[in-house]
Amino acid sequence: MIILTDEPLDAAAVTDSVRRDGNGAVVTFLGTTRDNFGGKTVTRLEYEAYDAMAVKKLQEVRDSLCRDYGIADVAIAHRTGRVDVGHISLIVAVASPHRREAFEACHEAVNRIKTIVPIWKKEWFADGSRWVACEDHEFADEAEHTHAHAERHAAPVGDD
């Protein structure tokens, strides 16, 4: 199951899609909009995707995990558009006979998704917004820009 949608995500449905009688372990990751970033209050996130390529890359992530971890049951769902605080933007569910592969593959899935899938995240604060992970793309005079930006040191890569 690969889902890319601007509708709310259903964690139970994604998790249930990987359950099989031959699996003893199911690990599900939910990425949710956190209410703060770098000490500032986040009011919402907005995700923008290059849809056709994103779906293809999500499938590639799933296929590469199945190959690398010797597993068969991986489901990924990503939401686009506005995602309010506390709501789910990403679900990864992995099931396998034993728990170690399920934990490791699920964690690695999230890492790969955030590295290769063309989906961009914009954080909205009370006083402005910023595209996440675009720090390298800021110009030296960016502080004068109309949008407020989180400070560099407060923007680790792969933050959620």
Binding site: E48, Y50, K56, R112, T115, W120, K122, D136, H137, A140
Partner: protein, 84 residues
């Protein structure tokens, strides 16, 4: 163009003229020339041709769908990572 680049260019679609035999790198250079504030000069702009990451030396054909890809949240997209 998406996200940061779309906002900086003020448009999702941009149009540049390229001679026949141009590469993906020629295209990003031409877009940069038209939109100098897209990204600082020291930053490489990642490009996708027909929904796949492409090297700068990849030749373009008429009808190719070309997108400029800002960094995603976990870091710069890498062709290596994509091919694992």
């Amino acid at each position: 163009m998406f996200a940061l680049y779309r906002e900086r260019a003020g448009s999702a679609l941009v149009s540049v003229e390229l001679p026949e035999g141009s590469t993906a790198g020629d295209l990003t250079a031409a877009v940069r020339a038209e939109y100098p504030r897209l990204a600082p000069p020291e930053v490489r702009i990642v490009v996708a041709v027909n929904a796949e990451y492409a090297d700068d030396d990849q030749p373009l054909c008429p009808g190719d769908e070309v997108c400029l890809i800002p960094p995603v949240s976990g870091g710069m997209p890498m062709r290596e990572a994509a091919r694992r």
